[in-house]
């Protein structure tokens, strides 16, 4: 087992990437070398689903034989994200302006959570928020 620090977009051929996001402070990733043991892969999948953050795991046969390394963008002192996540969460936002204008801790709080939940493009937040019986 080896541990790394926050590479959202890294996966190894026979390993699972488990990301833990803490409310404050850096997130951490652990690479669990579970080989092709189906039971272990199912367990890792359950852990990821329980995070509630839309993380998932691919079975070994769907991963390439060599490590997949995504280009990472540093959004703040403590946050690195892959290209896809950057496009989904931060594209079009004036992050440089926000970094200048917000106190550092406020900026960290903003970028840590904004767009964090992937959701579904078909979601209508107004309709979904309706508290009356459907």
């Amino acid at each position: 087992m080896s541990a790394g620090s926050f590479p959202y977009g890294q996966a190894l051929a026979t390993a699972a990437l488990v990301v833990t996001v803490a409310p404050a402070g850096p997130a951490h990733a652990q690479i669990l070398n579970v080989g092709t043991d189906r039971t272990a892969w199912h367990q890792v999948g359950d852990w990821l689903r329980s995070s509630g953050l839309g993380l998932t795991v691919l079975p070994p046969e769907k991963l390439s034989a060599r490590p997949v390394r995504e280009h990472l963008t540093r959004v703040s002192q403590s946050l690195l994200v892959g290209e896809l996540e950057f496009a989904a969460r931060f594209a079009g936002l004036p992050l440089d302006d926000y970094r200048r204008r917000m106190p550092p801790a406020v900026y960290e709080a903003y970028i840590r959570f904004v767009g964090l939940v992937p959701g579904d493009s078909r979601l209508d937040v107004v309709e979904a928020a309706d508290l009356s019986e459907g």
Binding site: V21, P23, A24, R49, S50, S51, G52, L53, G54, A88, R89, G92, L93, P94, D97, Y98, R101, M102, P103, A105, V106, E108, A109, Y110, R112, F113, V114, G115, L116, V117, P118, G119, D120, S121, R122, L123, D124, V125, V126, A128, A129, D130, L131, S132, E133, G134
Partner: protein, 187 residues
């Protein structure tokens, strides 16, 4: 709040930008209980859909929530607590953010205005109370709910700018009674 948290829905770019601008401007943010209720309701619904592999339009009622709530919290708890964690981190960072406080001395006025907004604009009780609290506690009322487009004329809340977040042309000030409708720091 939930608009700025869920990245894939159509209002996300506007909501994320609006929230960023509010924070960058040092604007005080006041949440009513409706914001908390509705945000958690949306996230519980998303969690249920993720758990069951259904689209977000899946049938969703209080009975379904009650039936699945233990599983939702067990498997998707982090999703529900994201709102809480976001608010806590902003609070710890020193940004002025708060929930509407007791309206002692004003509560009967809140009920009066809630009834008036229900009667005059056809709002639901929860939406009307949300607006009545904003009339007392806020300068700008931010929502994505198009029902508030009905808020016009002399019966509209006094001294309150209603800002409706929309997807086509960004956030639009629906109505302003001030010379400068931009967000301002609360005193």
């Amino acid at each position: 709040m939930v608009g700025g948290l869920v990245s894939s829905h159509h209002l996300y770019p506007q909501a994320a930008r609006l929230f960023g601008d509010l924070l960058a401007g040092g604007t005080s943010i006041v949440l009513s209980d409706l914001v908390i209720n509705e945000s958690l309701w949306v996230l519980a619904r998303l969690a249920y859909c993720d758990l069951t592999g259904q689209p977000p339009s899946a049938h969703w009622t209080k009975a379904i929530y009650v039936h699945h709530q233990a599983s939702i919290f067990l498997h998707q708890g982090a999703k529900l607590s994201a709102i809480r964690d976001w608010l806590a981190m902003l609070d710890a960072a020193g940004h002025p953010i708060d929930v509407v406080r007791s309206t002692k001395g004003q509560w009967i006025g809140v009920v009066d205005r809630t009834l008036a907004f229900m009667k005059d604009f056809g709002l639901t009780p929860a939406d009307a109370a949300h607006l009545a609290l904003a009339e007392i506690h806020a300068q700008t009322f931010v929502t994505a709910d198009g029902d508030y487009r009905k808020i016009t004329g002399s019966a509209a809340p006094q001294g309150l700018t209603v800002l409706i977040v929309q997807s086509s042309s960004g956030a639009s000030p629906l109505r302003s009674q001030r010379s400068n409708p931009r967000f301002r720091r609360r005193p």
